[in-house]
Amino acid sequence: MNDFIDRPRFTCALGGALFTLRALKGVVPIIHAGSGCGYNLYLATNAGAGYLGGGCCGGAGWSSSNVLEEDIVFGGEDRLREQIKSTIDLMESELYVVVSGCSVEMIGDDIVSVAAEAAQKGYPVLAVPTPGFAGDSFTGYDLILAGLFKGYLAKGLAKRPEVVNLWGLVPGQDVFYKGNLREIKRLLSRLGIKANTFFGEGETLADLKEAGRAGLNLVLSDVYGQAAAKVFEETHGTPYLTLAPPVGALQSRAFLAAISEALGLGEDLVSRVVSEEEERYFDYLGRVADIYNDVDLQRYALVIGDANYAPAVTRFLADELGHIPALSMVTDQLGEEQRLRVAGRFQGFASGLAPAVRFDPHASSFRTYLQEIHPPDQNQRYYDGLGPAFMVGSVLERDLAAERGWPLMIMSFPATNRVVFQESRMGYDGGLNMAAELFSLLVSGR
């Protein structure tokens, strides 16, 4: 059971659905809900995702039925019919997707049937129920994907083995989703794989329509996109492969090897790609060899992030940058099985280190765990403090970081104190970006 949360780092299913749709070019969402749902979720995710903006419609421009008490009493389907019609009348789009909030689902409005009426008249309208009580943003991502897989994708297409669909990076919740998708796509293309990322640069709705052609769905998450990938498999017969999202050179090498094995690509190809990428990568990373070793830039690392980032970044910091991860906290609401899978990602570090890992969505819990893993100074003569250190997390960590004098690198949602455009955190480029940002923090006083 999901309990109350102290400063949650995600919104609801409707929020996840809306920002997934916002990331798809050519889609206009129609919200069937009270007036506040869309605007509230726009405010949260715009700012939380490093000022992502409301997209083509603009946050306050989202079509919304704005149901009132009388609709709740008498049913809101007529209001939705009217809103679908007027939205098509006003806004041009390849696809209109109706999503719903809590109140209309509680009274039993059938948004799928109402959308089907419009579709029968020839309008490209589809509905996916996404009430906030169904879960968090990550659930919303899976719900909307599953809805599109069932209701929008062309069925019965011939499979092309060199085409792969990429899932598992949730637009908005992954603040760097667009840069990450670009980098993963680039890496796969080096192996001759055509990857559809749907939410990345230059992708179109037509690619989504034809997604059933892919020979494989690649889910870069132990949690996000898993449920949708199952639906995809059931509906279109495409198997899926789950791999950890790769951050930095070592994880990218393992990632490329795994995908190459799954698709039966030649070992020579992978070796060549990896060695070229690594030559470029370490040419950059090697630049800091001097300052790193002259002034000792190794630190203890405190990491707070979601199920994708927390393990991958902790491993990157330990195994590549040589830091000492002291405590990592995964802030998602996970089921037992999901938790075990994610916990497994913290094992087998090449550095031999094994950080303390906690699963907890409460913002205030991190302080408690810090005390557990590292007892505070008891005024003894010699105290081995947790320092020098830095934190990697969200803006919610700023107060603690400032109190302890730890530099804070912003990686996870909410990231209201930075702007994110095309930067990545995954792959080779993402590793370099993160290393540059982290070392910049450490030399910022020089």
Binding site: F4, S35, L43, A44, G61, W62, S86, I107, G132, G135
Partner: protein, 501 residues
């Protein structure tokens, strides 16, 4: 006025006949409002905008030494993410030791939709009380628990004895009112029921009846005015109003934004409650008058020289200080005029469109006209009689376009296309949309810009000139970031989707 026996505040469409859908001229809007025939209209196309829940957070998320326990599914109130990062800094303008914003969400799920969420709420409140030891725990109640029928008032009443914090319910489900501003009444309803209490601790009175102390208390209270601030004010605005009233030997106390528990208790030690914007606080002030006999003034908002003068005179008049106020106003206007003269040349012949809260945009129009701009249109969140005083200070605009709509950027873009203003002064939310029409934008309010009083006039002049000096960013947006509306929309009547039933 006394609605405190009700669980929740009445909605504004019923209490004030507020309208949210109207298109016409200022004259027509005022006439329709005065005849009470504004509030039936609605839209056959609508766009998302704040609800009672989200707007109730605008006030309550500023309280110091408070924790918010949002009762609803996990997305409700997530909008505070946008403001939480800056919350500590703004609070520290009041109290250098203030902490940042802490909120919890009861995270209602499928099971709670069936079984109710009272247990979760109780556990969240107990956790918040023990973990953070706040003075106040605010509990905004969203659509889901309202529909499930959670009895939050009874629950809080029962829990009150177990916790150190004062528990403040705010009944603000988003489906209740089409008038977003009902949220203010929802918040004040909760505050009036819980925090605003006469200090009834009389245990010491018989032993320590210090007459001199008592006289001093009355003396101070008799010269103290509560100014009902709004969350869209900057600290600089408060300091300006404080400065002006100090000249009249009046003390000021700012409520409710950025206040703490003690300030609400002390708020009854006051000779006059002064509204900054009637849209925000009439419910509170009417109740304070009928419950505690404190008189109040609701007039215009002190933005623009005429409105500021009118507001100041209104306050001074209650204390028999009109002559002193007039001298102050004359002096202030003289200095201001000298400072503004160089700006007028720049603004002459420039056209402005204003969008946001009705009282604020009408008052700001007076400011802009003083600077030499021409006002070509308004878009107000809603419409009621509270803008009348500001309209009185703005003669000659009877035929100017007035659109009534909360956000609704689709109508805004159509109007902007027709009216072609040189600058857009607007409320957050829809500014990005007209930015993509290539117009320079000045935010209608902001926590770091001053707008009120005489200092505010000068600050707006400076900032407005600055944004109009270089509109390159928005010009490029217009070229490269298109809006989603069909071309045919711009040829249609902007009010086509407003229907009368």
């Amino acid at each position: 006025m006394n609605f405190l026996d009700n669980q929740a505040a009445p909605i504004r469409e019923n209490r004030l006949g507020v309208g949210v859908a109207f298109g016409g001229t200022c004259r027509e809007a005022r006439r329709a409002a005065s005849q009470g025939c504004l509030n039936q209209a609605r839209r056959s196309f609508s766009q998302t905008h704040g609800c009672e829940f989200t707007l109730s957070l605008a006030i309550t998320s500023t309280f110091r030494n408070a924790v918010i326990v949002m009762h609803g599914p996990i997305g409700c109130g997530s909008c505070v993410i946008a403001s939480a990062g800056g919350a500590k800094g703004y609070r520290r303008l009041r109290d250098p030791a203030a902490e940042g914003l802490i909120w919890l969400n009861t995270n209602l799920g499928e099971n709670d939709v069936v079984g109710g969420g009272e247990d979760k709420l109780a556990r969240a409140i107990l956790h918040a009380d023990r973990k953070f030891r706040p003075e106040i725990i605010v509990v905004p109640v969203s659509c889901v628990p309202a529909l499930v029928g959670d009895d939050v008032d009874t629950l809080l009443h029962g829990l009150q004895a177990e916790v150190g914090a004062k528990l403040v319910p705010v009944h603000c489900p988003g489906f209740r009112s089409k008038v977003m501003a009902t949220a203010y009444d929802d918040v004040y309803h909760g505050l009036l029921k819980t925090l605003v209490r006469k200090n009834d601790d009389q245990s010491n009175e018989k032993i320590l009846n210090d007459e001199l102390q008592e006289m001093r208390r009355r003396y101070i209270a008799g010269r103290t005015v509560n100014i009902l601030n709004v969350s869209s004010m900057a600290r600089a605005d408060e300091l300006e109003l404080e400065r002006l009233l100090r000249v009249l030997d009046l003390r000021t106390r700012f409520l409710p934004c950025y206040s703490e528990s003690l300030e609400f208790r002390e708020s009854l030690e006051s000779a006059l409650n002064v509204s900054v914007c009637g849209t925000h606080d009439d419910y509170f002030l009417e109740h304070l008058k009928s419950l505690f006999g404190i008189p109040f003034m609701i007039d215009t908002i002190p933005i623009g020289p005429r409105n500021t003068g009118r507001w100041l005179l209104g306050v001074a008049d209650r204390f028999g200080l009109s002559d002193r106020a007039r001298r102050l106003i004359d002096a202030e206007e003289t200095i201001l005029e000298e400072a503004i003269v160089p700006y007028r040349e720049f603004f002459q012949g420039k056209k402005a469109f204003l969008s946001g809260g009705e009282v604020r945009i009408v008052a700001t129009a007076e400011l802009l006209r003083y600077l030499g701009l021409e006002i070509v249109g308004f878009k107000g969140h809603h419409f009621d009689h509270f803008s009348e005083p500001a309209f009185e200070e703005l003669p000659g605009l009877e035929g100017t376009v007035f659109l009534v709509g909360t956000q609704q950027p689709f109508e805004q873009v159509n109007l902007i296309q027709r009216l072609k203003p040189d600058v857009f002064v607007g409320h957050t939310g829809s500014n990005n949309i007209s930015a993509r029409q290539g117009i320079p934008i000045l935010p209608l309010f902001g926590n770091s810009h001053a707008y009120m009083g005489y200092a505010g006039v000068f600050e707006v002049a400076r900032n407005l000139r600055r944004v109009m000096l270089n509109g390159s960013f928005n010009h490029l947006l217009a070229e490269h970031c298109p809006l989603p509306y069909r071309k045919s929309w711009y040829e249609k009547d902007p009010f086509s989707y407003i229907v009368d039933h």
